[in-house]
């Protein structure tokens, strides 16, 4: 059954954007693809104001940790495109997706991500950060249940109660592993796409620079943000919220062969240590 953008947009909001901002369970639909993504972005109002008001408070709280703003703008077309890309990128980690389908989906997401323009100004970067700040916190809980006559693995799905019943008698043992987004996308292409997605929200890129994977790098997108004095100020505030030793280590490690980016890296490091 063909899906329309008007049907998909509220579901995308309810099951991905809302938990991405507020926390909770993220459930995904069938991969959206380029056409549906464009159709959602072109909708005049993908979701109503009432729905957006549910995440407004959390977004303002996120923004006010960096600058005193009292309102957050509604997500623009690029934000919706980025959200659709994130949806499909996460869907690429689905355990039952074959390797061929996985490659095809990742290639599709890569092509779509490259079409999303970088943020136009500091305000847009801040608004996008308020939406995608917790993107690296998305995690899947994998459970391995062992019992007296066998074992079963449940990837991102709850364990049936019948399997955990009578734990002492049946010698039930549960091994729970929490795997974050970077861990789930732990392939060369997957991590590259995650980096590409972070470059579209440069303030988030800086605010998570102490992450283990993918390693932080200086690029044209995040260099453009700190070229503006206000952008530099917001970036430094975001960096000061992180452990200073880890930030220094990450910024030093993000050395670039590009001479201009190298000078930007030195400038940020000096400003941070000042």
């Amino acid at each position: 059954v063909a899906r329309s953008a008007a049907q998909v947009a509220p579901v995308l909001f309810e099951h991905l954007l809302r938990p991405l901002v507020l926390g909770g369970k993220v459930t995904l639909m069938r991969p959206l693809g380029a056409e549906l993504e464009s159709a959602i972005a072109e909708l005049p109002e993908p979701v109503g104001a009432e729905a957006l008001s549910q995440i407004e408070f959390a977004r303002v709280r996120r923004v006010r940790s960096l600058t005193p703003l009292d309102r957050c703008a509604a997500p623009n077309a690029s934000d919706w495109r980025l959200l659709a890309c994130l949806h499909d990128l996460l869907q690429a980690t689905h355990p039952s997706l074959g390797s061929h389908a996985n490659q095809k989906l990742l290639a599709n997401v890569e092509a779509r991500l490259s079409l999303i323009p970088p943020v136009a100004n500091v305000h847009e970067a801040l608004m996008r950060h308020s939406l995608f700040a917790r993107v690296l916190e998305i995690a899947r809980v994998d459970t391995k249940v062992s019992y007296w006559v066998g074992s079963a693995t449940y990837l991102g799905t709850p364990v049936p109660k019948r399997l955990t019943a009578w734990p002492e008698l049946r010698r039930v043992k549960q091994d729970v592993t929490r795997r974050d987004a970077a861990d789930l996308l732990n392939s060369e292409q997957g991590l590259r796409l995650l980096v590409q997605l972070l470059h579209k929200t440069p303030l988030t890129d800086f605010a998570t620079c102490t992450r283990n994977a993918p390693p932080f790098q200086f690029t044209e997108e995040n260099a453009a943000l700190i070229a503006a004095p206000v952008g530099m100020k917001l970036t430094l505030r975001a960096l000061h919220a992180l452990p200073s030793e880890q930030v220094t280590y990450a910024l030093r490690g993000a050395a670039s062969v590009n001479a201009r980016l190298q000078s930007v890296a030195t400038q940020v490091l000096q400003a941070f240590q000042a």
Partner: protein, 507 residues
Amino acid sequence: MKSQLTPREKGKLALVLEKIALHQTRLRTPGLSLDGRGIALGAKGLVLFPSMDRLVAWLSVYTRERSLEDMLANLRIETVRSKLGTQELVLSFAAESTDRMDATAETARLVGGFTFTGSARHFIQYRDASAPFGFDTNELQTTDASYVLYHEKFTQSYATVRTLPLHDLLLTLMPRPAPETIREIKSGDPHIVVAEAGLGPALIHYFVRSQVQAEVALGEWPPESAFDDGPTRRYLFRVAALPVRMRALLFGTPGITVFLPQGPSVAVEAGFRHPITLRACPVFAGLSLIRQGGAPPWKLDPIPVFGDVRAFARVDINLETPVHDARSSGAPDPVRVQLRLLPSTGAFGQAVTASFFPTAELGMFRSLAYALPRETLERVEIAITGTGVFLHSTDGIEGIPLGTYLTEIHPGLHLATGYDFVPKVAPEVLQQALNIPTSMITFLLPGAGGSERAIAVERAAFVPLETLLLEAPHWEPAAHETIERTLADAPIELQVEVLGLLPLRDV
């Protein structure tokens, strides 16, 4: 939904190592556990070196900063062979702490070695910048090999070929020419001089005549070949301080070899430097003398008996000169006089380094302790004896205005400040006359009515003042209650649902 492992998931499992996440509690590798900071650590550490020169480089770099003494009990160097037939070297030791492992891994990274941690057979790559909490494996190999090493880039099993004792390795390494070691010799540095059997007696008399403080022993080595008549004998000299004027003679005479001690049991030939800091490797028994040019080292175990060279001085006996009988003249009157302390008329020059007060004044000292600055408390040592209380500090004791001040006039000999002793013999002579062991500090105090007192206190009796001063207040543990974080963000959990048929139909 019950999800069996898909081919994609199986492909991921092929990557044997997994990075350990923050707050992860379970590990799959046997013998691997998390320390207090959440870092994966096994009972043993292991470093894999592709060649011998890398191992030597590691030992060289590591021993420049640290001692191997703590690791020696469990340190093993082994030559191992992989299934592909390549021979590599493995250095294993007790891991004990992440500090030791970090230092080892950092040095290994510098010289091109790989660091692992584990218990008996399975060793996992130790943490690095990409995985600050270390690694765990999701698949253990079933094998009888001595070691199975799991690295991000390879998983390899190794069989032990032979064990290489560190002591043997150190003795087989050739020292490098380093002329600066001769230039850097200070006048008080000890030397070990080895002289061939024919040169020994001449060298003894040379030392005696030149009044050089030295000890001599006769070392015996087994014959080098079946053609030798008996064991080779050489004279060994332990010279406490070799005068500069003698260096040219000793360093330039064939048959005389000079060694510079690199620890209590090992010395390296002067003008050469061992690639490894031997002071950091206390593995030698007896005395080992490492020679230049690949010559086998001279080993002496046990160390032969050393005697003062003055005992071997040439003695002339004149049998014709009659011996005067002292008994007929009777015992002479003793010329000894009693030591007395008199108020000094000279200037007050030397620093006050000790003080003494009777035990009765201890209460006043306690009151005074509240006003003493931290620096004073740190550097002052105290000894409480039946006679009284002694305070001692090499940096000066004037900060504590209590008791009789004393000045150090000779190492280990203190005299009441403002006093001179008569007869005015040299302080060394006074020290010898008192005949007090060097393990004791002597204090000369004026007494009432001219009865001077010499009190000797064991050096070990002096303890830092700050460790004795504070009486710790009673304390009681207070249990804390967990406060719920109202503004904490709820975790974001990705829940997997059924994709259905043709999941990519819109892509």
